[in-house]
């Protein structure tokens, strides 16, 4: 790898202060540090550091998303051809499904990365920072939570909105309080409802005659039970957003995230606990058929699992204290099921419930930390009283 290093060393002066391409130095730095871990050494404090850096952290999350993404690409193709010819089985015309899926999904990924990274690089340059790796994950999450037919210009617009308004105005990666990927989706959802709601958007170029309703939509409109079986919802062979349908692929990602400890198991577990809690309450007290649907159906329908594994666990926008994480996750689960069952307007509650709890996460932390502060103050007071008695 000597020659790459030599090449980089050769061109590096151009990007340093006073060089011709100084205005691109953040960009150069991003690519250089991608190829080589920098030669920087510790200057203050501890003289050695853990080998883990932000790049590896983010790449692990991207890896965790890959199974769901690959399944999503295939499923986009399958759903399309299945809507034209309902007799097709899942593995019929394997390569044709993949081809169609790629044609549909790749452009969305490219648009989201190009728009988002361009803004990130520009802001890094403007602020004199290094480029943060956070968008490597966000840029992949965005396509996975959108339907395959969403117009590309809308993706571009929504991504720009989320990155600038949701993240950069607050100071960039690590400073945002709303999950940027979900913000993208929320922007599209409210600005262009036609692209993100109804029965006709969840299958790419759906044949008109075919009903493309997702299980969530079916249940909301009063079906007795979803037309898809629990198993097919678990496997993910149903219409929906690109990456959200296959619980099994999401589980693979979850295993990697928990195995490496990158995502908080407390949040993941508590989202499911919260969902189960609310689901069971409705199972007991609910009167309509949707309320009577066994609670675990909520885990396999819509974006519940995807949200719990990849969205709620975003460390920047989640609660940061250990106790806070339990509360934050639990309430996400509760709210998601509550919105699904009670709210008449939106079939899916996961996006809104996570965004809502993103907003409340600092408040939860505030109270958790305050308990610690109160304990300390109490100790001080007892001490002060002791002293006055002794005097």
């Amino acid at each position: 790898m000597r020659f790459i290093r030599d090449f980089l060393d050769d061109i590096k002066p151009n990007f340093e202060k006073g060089g011709r391409f100084y205005w691109l130095h953040s960009t150069f730095d991003a690519f250089e540090s991608f190829a080589f871990v920098p030669n920087k050494t510790t200057s203050k404090g501890a003289h050695f550091r853990d080998a883990l850096d932000m790049k590896r952290t983010m790449i692990i999350v991207v890896l965790a998303l890959i199974p769901a993404l690959l399944f999503g690409i295939y499923n986009v193709g399958y759903q399309h051809f299945h809507s034209i010819d309902p007799t097709l089985a899942f593995f019929d015309n394997f390569w044709r499904n993949i081809g169609f899926g790629l044609i549909k999904v790749l452009p969305i990924i490219i648009v989201s990365y190009v728009v988002g990274l361009a803004i990130e690089f520009a802001f890094a340059q403007y602020r004199g920072h290094e480029v943060n790796e956070g968008f490597l994950v966000t840029g992949l999450l965005i396509p996975m939570i959108l339907p395959a037919d969403v117009p590309l210009w809308q993706v571009a617009l929504a991504t720009a909105f989320a990155v600038i308004i949701g993240k950069e105005v607050f100071g960039g990666t690590g400073m945002n309080f709303l999950n940027p990927a979900l913000l993208t989706r929320a922007f599209l959802f409210f600005a262009f409802p036609a692209s993100l709601s109804g029965d006709n958007v969840w299958i790419a170029q759906k044949a008109d005659a075919f009903s493309g309703a997702t299980p969530l939509a079916e249940m909301m409109t009063g079906a007795v039970e979803p037309s898809q079986s629990f198993l097919s919802m678990f496997l993910g062979t149903i219409p929906g957003s690109i990456g959200e349908t296959s619980i099994i692929a999401i589980l693979l990602g979850a295993i990697l995230l928990l195995f490496t400890g990158i995502a908080s198991w407390r949040i993941m577990l508590s989202v499911f606990l919260g969902g189960a809690f609310m689901g069971i309450i409705f199972n007991i007290f609910g009167s309509n058929s949707y309320s009577q649907l066994p609670f675990y159906y909520h885990f396999v329908m819509g974006g519940f699992a995807f949200g719990a594994v990849f969205m709620a666990t975003d460390p920047v926008t989640a609660a940061q204290t250990t106790k806070g994480k339990w509360i934050y996750g639990f309430l996400i689960g509760v709210m998601a099921v509550l919105i699904r069952l009670v709210n008449p307007a939106y079939p899916e509650g996961m996006m809104l419930s996570i965004l809502l709890m993103n907003v409340f996460a600092p408040l939860i932390d505030y109270y958790v930390v305050n308990a610690n502060i109160k304990r300390r103050m109490k100790r001080w007071k007892i001490k002060a009283v002791d002293n006055s008695i002794q005097k």
């Binding site: 080998a51 300390r376 103050m377």
Partner: protein, 457 residues
């Protein structure tokens, strides 16, 4: 015997180059006192270049309090006074003339002395400076007595010297030191020892102290942790603390009536050819300590103190006043191709994204020993991951929240979150495992400095 205090959180990092139980002596030529070793000290020189001082003779005092005297470790001639930015004195170098002359403090014995006499003797001899206080880790204020005194009888940082070995045969000195402390401040004195590792009679048979035994993993030996489990600091509280090694020096003064700042330090780290213990005088030159006992053809980082919170020094730099070891590790100024993507069996990590991270989940004795270098392994980022710091923070504080309060300089918030209970060294492990490569210890140090200045005004 007392109860065992178990510290659950923390992590012992096993590093190669632990000192073997072999004691060598080290005779150097140059010794230095560095005013920067003492938090918040503004020195006023009492000698000039070319003056002659005896061991224990006055070198400088504090500008604020001229009773606070700093004395020479050896007899010799003041060779140079090195100044840095804003003419702040960086070091006063004294060349040993090998005459071993000691400053005369008269004949005295502890038993017949009044409390104030003991205090005065310690101040005049410059040995008072070995007693420090929390909060802020400044030299103890003799006008304001503490609520208790802590003696650190063990250390938990990586490659820590074994106190059983370094204190061997110095039981009498230690006891005298304890008695002297008792005279200076009639408060409870706690001797903190390691439940599993401390076995020497020199420590365990000390009288006039209450022995507290600790069990756990680093930072269970940090003074903040010891205090938090014995008698936590509240706002306005003061706790004094002395390292056992320094206590022996104080005790020796009351036995021999002269200042002999001799201590046993460890020379350790992966870049040391034969790690060992050395008998040195405080302020010895690193080059004299290390000699040619180093790995050849390597770029070496010299650290006075431990690898987590010690000070980076040059080869011709000097041992810090409170430091009990010199650590040598390799400099890591190399590029690594796609380094962030490798499985990383040999890289130290507490995160399970590396294979080594899994080994580090195992109990202490099965863990791998690492030879680390100074590479930062990445670039500086904003804080993103949460929940990591809590794993290595045994104090009842919220590390991330406190660090953020320190960054914005919000003193009220810092007080509420427990800044008085910590020192920068308590965040060393947080700093090591931090993915965003923030210099956390510096942040805490600056914040403590900010509060200290505010309080002292």
């Amino acid at each position: 015997m007392s109860d065992v205090i178990t510290i659950k959180k923390g992590f012992d990092i096993k590093l190669s180059g632990k000192a073997e139980d072999k004691l060598l002596s080290c005779s150097g030529k140059n010794y230095a006192i560095k005013p920067s070793d003492f938090v918040g000290l503004n020195p006023k020189l009492l000698i000039q270049e070319g003056d002659r001082v005896k061991a224990g003779g006055k070198v400088f005092c504090s500008k604020k309090d001229e009773n606070l005297i700093f004395s020479s470790p050896v007899s010799g001639v003041v060779k140079s006074i090195n100044r840095g930015e804003k003419r702040f004195i960086e070091s006063i170098v004294i060349e040993d003339d090998l005459t071993n002359e000691y400053e005369d403090f008269g004949k005295f014995s502890l038993e017949n002395m009044q409390n104030e006499e003991v205090e005065n003797k310690l101040l005049q001899s410059g040995l008072w400076t070995l007693i420090r206080q929390r909060p802020f880790s400044t030299i103890a204020n003799y006008e304001k007595k503490p609520k208790c005194i802590i003696i650190s009888g063990f250390a938990s940082y990586p490659l820590a010297p074994d106190y059983n070995f370094t204190l061997k045969g110095r039981g009498e000195q230690l006891q005298k030191g304890v008695d002297a402390l008792k005279k200076v401040a009639d408060v409870p004195i706690y001797l903190c020892t390691d439940y599993e590792k401390t076995y020497c009679d020199e420590l365990l048979l000390l009288k006039n102290v209450e022995i507290k035994r600790f069990k756990g993993e680093h930072p269970y030996g940090n003074v903040s942790v010891l205090i938090s489990r014995i008698d936590p600091i509240n706002k306005g509280d003061i706790v004094w603390y002395v390292d056992a090694e320094d206590l022996a020096i104080i005790g020796d003064f009351f036995i021999t009536n002269r200042v002999d700042k001799q201590k046993v330090i460890a020379l350790c780290g992966a870049m040391v050819e034969k790690p060992c213990y050395l008998k040195v005088k405080v302020g010895a030159q690193i080059a004299d300590i290390v000699g040619d006992n180093i790995k050849k053809d390597k770029k070496i980082r010299y650290i006075s103190g431990n690898i987590l919170s010690g000070e980076k020094v040059d080869r011709d730099g000097f041992l810090g006043t409170y430091d009990n070891l010199v650590t040598l590790i390799e400099e890591g100024d190399y590029y690594e191709f796609l380094g962030w993507a490798l499985p990383g069996n040999n890289k130290f990590s507490l995160h399970r994204t590396f294979i080594s991270g899994f080994f580090n989940l195992l109990p202490k004795k099965y863990r791998k020993t690492y030879s680390v270098d100074t590479n930062l392994h990445g670039g500086k980022r904003a804080f993103v991951l949460t929940g990591d710091f809590e794993r290595v923070m045994p104090l009842d504080i919220y590390p991330l929240e406190l660090i953020k309060a320190c960054i914005i300089g919000d003193i009220d918030k810092m007080e509420e979150l427990g800044i008085y209970e910590v020192d920068s060294e308590d965040f060393a492990l947080c700093e090591v495992i931090d993915v965003s490569k923030t210099n956390i210890q510096q942040i805490v140090k600056d914040a403590l400095e900010q509060i200290r200045k505010e309080v002292e005004q």
